[in-house]
Amino acid sequence: MSAVASVGDADRSGPWAGALLALVSAAAAAAFATLIPEISRNEAVAAEWAWAPALDVSLAFRVDGLSLVFALLITGFGAVISAYSISYLRGHRHQTHFFLYLALFEAGMLGLVLADDVIALFAFWEVTTVASFLLVGFETTQKARRSAWMSLLITGAGGLALLAGLIWLGLVTGTTRISEITAAGGLGGHAAYLPITLLVLAGAFAKSAQFPLHIWLPNAMAAPTPVSAYLHSATMVKAGVYLLARLHPALSGTDFWTTTLGLVGGFTMLMAAILSLRQKDLKLALAYSSVMSLGSLVMFLGAEETVAAAAAMTFLIVHALYKASLFLVVGSIDKMTGTRDLDRLGGLWRTMPMTSIAGVLAAGSMAGFPPFLGFVGKELKYEGALAIAEEPAPLAAAAVIANALMVALALAVIFRVVLSRPGRTPKTPREAPTLIWLGPLLLAVGGLLFGVAPDLVGRTLVQPAAAAMLGAPAEIKLKLWHGVNLPLMMSVATLALGVAFHLAREPLARLIARLPGGAEAIWDGLLDGVQTGFAAVTRGVQPGSLRTYLTVTFLAVAAAPLAGLRLAGGLPEASFALTEPQALAAAALCAGGALTAALAHRRILALAGLGASGTGLSLLFLTFGAPDVAATQILVDVLLLVLVAAVMPRLPELPPRRRGRSRDAFVAGAVGLAVALATLAATVGPFDASVADAMSARSLPEALGRNVVNVVLVDFRALDTFGEIVVVAAAAVGGLALLRRTRRSPA
């Protein structure tokens, strides 16, 4: 209901932005559809642009069966979701922003599945993470913020692991091109196989919400419902699945791969299915069922067998169709009735007929009733689970239980929400606007149509996708009726179990509520721990005493050159003598000024001493032929004195016998000595004048300037100077901000 709650100035350009995005997405989907004939012959379409040639990274794109399935899902669903959101978010203040974020996501996700370069893939991967963050936090409530942060931190951390894994993969295989990496075959025997796989899996599991990183996905339901349908069920969360399928030829085929994916995926599937039964909030129940689906996809990707690949690819399409449709239906119900609570909804077939038809069709596919595509997918899943050579029995049993729980959820949608007596909803239900019921209905009808004629997607999409995933041609035929076999028996068992779960929903939900949970509590504890931990570190490192900071900084300044000298083998033989009388006088002025500053008991005197010392220094520069440096030195000195003098009235009087004076003298002496020794040591080595000579020689003919220092600053190295003045300006702005702060709260 949050979408309608934020009423404000209506956003007039919002609907137009949505219409534009819907049209562009639909056009893109049509363009991708034209590639189907070519791709279904197991060919690939490629395009390439140079991006960072120095790093051998290029923007290479490649469409094969796997990419095409995802590209069609992304663009096709993008069109449906955009059209839906025009009406769903009508009148929202930030509707245009919403479509901007959605477009950002769609572009990023499309880039992710089309990229043929691991670095480009990673960049697009991060774009989808950021877009997801923006969309989850779209309603800027406290809850939405927390959820957005959680999704960003978990998927972002996974992204970092993935980057490391991909770079390592590139180093090991000698190429960043994905098609070349996968064509080279399995890496199973390589020494770096295990760390690379672990890093890649961390990224994929975080993105695709595998246990125990799944907690962000149910929280991400704080996003507007079309976002949940699009990002958090149909596309983005499947990026991890995509990655595992994409790198399948390179990383699969080991016991580690099969066991890890089977265990993590299987456990996630079962756990999420059980947790979904506990939810009274329909949207949350769907979220957990999405986690369940992702778990079963991951489980199938662990296998080598063609039938498992076919199961994964078919279920990918099935799930996207029915789950997005159901999410959109729930969004519509939420908008029209004011609630998503299973206990309060009922009898919507009378008041919201079109929405109800979409809901029932999608639920039928989710439950896997014939003749929906869901039935085909479920049969394949069972066949795939049985085909996984290692331990088929537990996986198959887990799949049956998880699917039975999905049946129970589907039955709840059909019998409690759509049929049954009218519920007690906050608003009197009425049919949603056409744009809102049309999208989910289209998707749900798609699930029915492809179920009746499964080969429509089987040969065109599933077969090439499975071939791309396995790295070898695959022969796959999808059929609605397989005859009486073991999978069919399992389907019957699933249905019976599902009905039982549905009837025993209340007691079961109470039982599940007693299960140990606490992943959320651990997460919050982790965040709190990080904050308190770093607060303690900050208190330790930054006690707030300027004197301490300066002491530490200057000691480090003294230690660095001394350590350098020590490493270089002690003090070199060097001598230096001042002979010119004016240089001697200037040096005396320097030393006298410094001593005065150190011994003075009043600040104004110390300041005068510093000024004298600076003047002496600039005179020294002048005697040794550096008028530019001398002028800069004296001007900086003058302005620094003015600044210090301006601050001085605010400082307390110096106590007559200052404590820590000998310590300050030690630090100052150490810095002076260290810098002097280092400078002296630097004069010993042979001076390479080639750069200086070249600059001097080129100065007049090439840069039309006789002052080499200036020519270097503003011409030869102008970009460096530009960086420096940006720093100067930024430092001044930062200093001003600090001064304003202290003025507002006088300490």
Binding site: D628, L639, A729, A732, G735
Partner: protein, 138 residues
């Protein structure tokens, strides 16, 4: 600090300092000087004004807020770096124009001078931003 002598002297000196700072800026390419030193001299001129006549007077004399001056400086330097792109050269390459004469004789104008002017503005704005804020505090 209200001293009639300082105030009277400032009226002359501050203007002279500005002229001198521009002189340093323009001659910088061939002789000691340049945007950085020039900017510092200009900043001391306004600092003198702030100390003798008050920060408010100095702010009025500067006309723009110091942070804006610094930002304009960055903009001028960036512009100088982008102009070569228009004539088909690499960014931050020098472009020279000689007004009213052949190369080396006419009035030399260059992106280098614009760049140095940007440096001049940044130094002026950055220093004055801090000086004004601190003087107002005191």
């Amino acid at each position: 600090m209200t001293s009639p002598i300082l105030q009277a002297a400032t009226r002359l000196i501050s203007t002279l300092l500005i002229v001198f700072s521009l002189f340093l800026l323009v001659r910088g390419h061939d002789a000691p000087g340049g945007g950085f030193i020039g900017g510092l001299v200009a900043a001391s001129s306004f600092t003198l004004l702030a100390m003798s006549h008050g920060v408010e007077t100095a702010r009025l004399a500067l006309r723009l807020p110091p942070a804006t001056v610094a930002a304009l400086g960055v903009g001028a330097a960036l512009l100088a770096g982008l102009i070569p792109l228009v004539v088909g050269d690499a960014p931050f390459a020098a472009v020279w124009v000689f007004v009213g004469g052949p190369k080396g004789e006419g009035l030399p104008l260059s992106t280098v001078l614009l760049f140095d002017f940007g440096v001049w503005l940044v130094v002026l704005g950055a220093v004055l931003g801090l000086v004004f804020a601190l003087e107002e505090d005191a």
